[in-house]
């Protein structure tokens, strides 16, 4: 029998936090995307854990959808990164601050 859900949830929270810090700290758009993937994975891990604990297949189904949406997000996001790089020759998020108030 697996470990209690608390361990999994704690691990997921840790991974989520690392991903979030990475998103807030890193300036490379590609790495920021990867951090978002980390956060999504943490969430997926939580879903699967609850699916097991609550004995409900819905938790796994939602992970399936998260995977699909993550794939779509990466496709469009990277497309934007490529287009932007063509125009400005940069992948640094801080270089894009023309919306400054």
């Amino acid at each position: 029998m697996s470990l209690s859900a608390g361990w999994y949830l704690g691990l997921a929270a840790l991974v989520f936090s690392i991903g979030a810090i990475g998103l807030l700290v890193r300036r490379n758009v590609l790495i920021m995307f990867m951090c978002i993937e980390l956060m999504l994975n943490a969430a997926n891990l939580t879903f699967v854990t609850f699916a097991r604990v609550l004995n409900d297949i819905g938790g796994q189904a939602i992970v399936f959808f998260v995977l699909v949406v993550a794939a779509a997000e990466v496709v469009v996001g990277l497309g934007i990164v490529v287009t932007n790089f063509r125009r400005r020759s940069t992948t640094v998020a801080d270089d894009l601050h023309s919306l400054k108030g």
Binding site: L23, L24, V25, A93, L96, S98, L99, K100, G101
Partner: protein, 638 residues
Amino acid sequence: MLHVAYLMPLFPLAGFLVLVAAGRRIGDPVAGWIGTLAVAAAFVVACLTLGGLLNQPDAHRLFVHDYFTWFHVGGLNVPVGILVDPLSVTMVMFITGVSMVIHLYSIAYMKGDPDYPKFFIYMNLFVFSMLVLVLANNLLLTFVGWEGVGVCSYWLVSFWFHRDSAASAGKKAFIYNRIGDAGFLLAIFLIFEKTGTVQYTGGPGGGIFGQLHHLGGGTGTAAVLLLFLAATGKSAQIPLFNWLPDAMEGPTPVSALIHAATMVTAGVYLLCRMNHLLALTHAGMEVIAIIGGVTAFVAATIACAQQDIKKVLAFSTISQIGYMILAVGSGAYVAAIFLMVSHAFFKGLLFLGAGSAIHGLDNEQDLKRMGALRKTMQWTTITFTVGWLAIAGIPPLAGFWSKGDVLDNVYSHYKVLWFLGLITAVLTAYYMTRLQVLAFGGEPRWDKIGPHGEPPLHAPHESPWVMRLPLVILAVAAFFGGLLDLPWIHHDSFEGWLGPVFAGSLYNDHLHAGGEWALALTDLAAALIGVIVGFALWRGAQVDKPQLEPQFLQRVWYWDDFYDALIGRPSQKLATFCAWVVDVRIIDGAVNGMASVVRATGSATRKLQSGYVRNYALGIAVGMAALIVFLLSRTWWS
């Protein structure tokens, strides 16, 4: 022939439209002839209407016709219609007649003016408005005409608006009239509130005159006093008379037509038209009589000290209208209308004569620079003399009969006011003699250096025939105008003719024959005293007589200064206060304050909008932490 009466205002309107459309292309002098013909056509229609009315028996001389509904709101139904009765026909007869000759005169007088067509546009519009005023069968349409003549007066007074004095004189006339107009409007509201109609007669409930029982007591007095306020504005009576002397800035034909013969008598006409209402209130009548008598006297004293020939005539006009108002206040409506008609003749004549003199002297208006014009301007001199004798009250000219009629009626009611009127008659004869002697008698002064160092003028020349012809026509009218209402043929003449209009409200107490003769002789004595004193004082070559022209009179009893101190300066102070304190500090301060609050908030919060996506993500992180803390706190405290 009564059904053609509606054409009367339409002819001047047509003239107005033609001149508006093509006046500038037609130009000088054909535009003037077109304007004159339009008014002449109106005069012909007026004559036809008069004939039509004369064909009716006395009691049926009333023609009311609604042509179409102007507007219909709730209980207020305002038709556009005319009211033809002896009063309105008398008015249109002398309005169109005098307008016609003055238009004719203007053709030559305005020659060479760059705005020649515009002058006739305004004049035709004025005649149209005046006819609407007089012929309207309801108060509201009368008010339309009332405002129309007001605005034409404004345009024509400031016709030479490039002169500051003319522009401000026009504004002054307009503002003084607005005060009176407010009274007129309030009176209309009050009358409509009480009777539910604005028509004089006819229509549902028999019009205003059919429902006078709703206007008894204080209401009637209030309505009458409000109408009288309107009349003081339009007819230049105390307390609103100051605008008329300034209105002399307009061209002289305008002064003759609008500010002597027709428009300024509109107030008197209005009071006469509402005579049934006036009859309800004795207090109102007394107020009217007192104001009229005092105005006549005050204006006559001022006229004695004026230097400008047109100003003398302007104050004389105020004084004469004071007589008319005095007559109205005494219930002598017929006498008021009689004086109005004869005054239109002789005052129109005097103004045109003065205009002829001014024209001959290259626009010099100062009496002290005229003199001896009889030698070069015979026609003007002869006709002007007729006007002088008429207004002075020398028999058998019109002024003697009409003024005598007024004074007779006043004598029966207000002895004090009669005495004031008699003194005014002496003063009238005096200042007109002064005017006559200074302008036409004595030695020429136009060839001398002026009192302020002006260069000598060219020798005066007689005016062309289009200017002389009106003078002759009006002189004849002023000479024989008295025949309209000779005292011993009352029944068949003017009084018999106008009587039905004022049935019931005319104070019908003629003196016995002996009393009339005594009063007539008193009037004649007053006129002769005035003329003789005038000759005695002003005959010599010396024309600077400051003791006879005190500052007090030259400055119009300090009336303008009084208004200036009472209203002008406080208003100016208030305006300054509003401009520099209320506007700058409070209003601008509030607006700018809001702006600076917004600006401060904006510049404080704009720092949040760093433009860095990571910063925005940090905001999400803060929110997430707050949410977690919130959930945790709920778990602990539950």
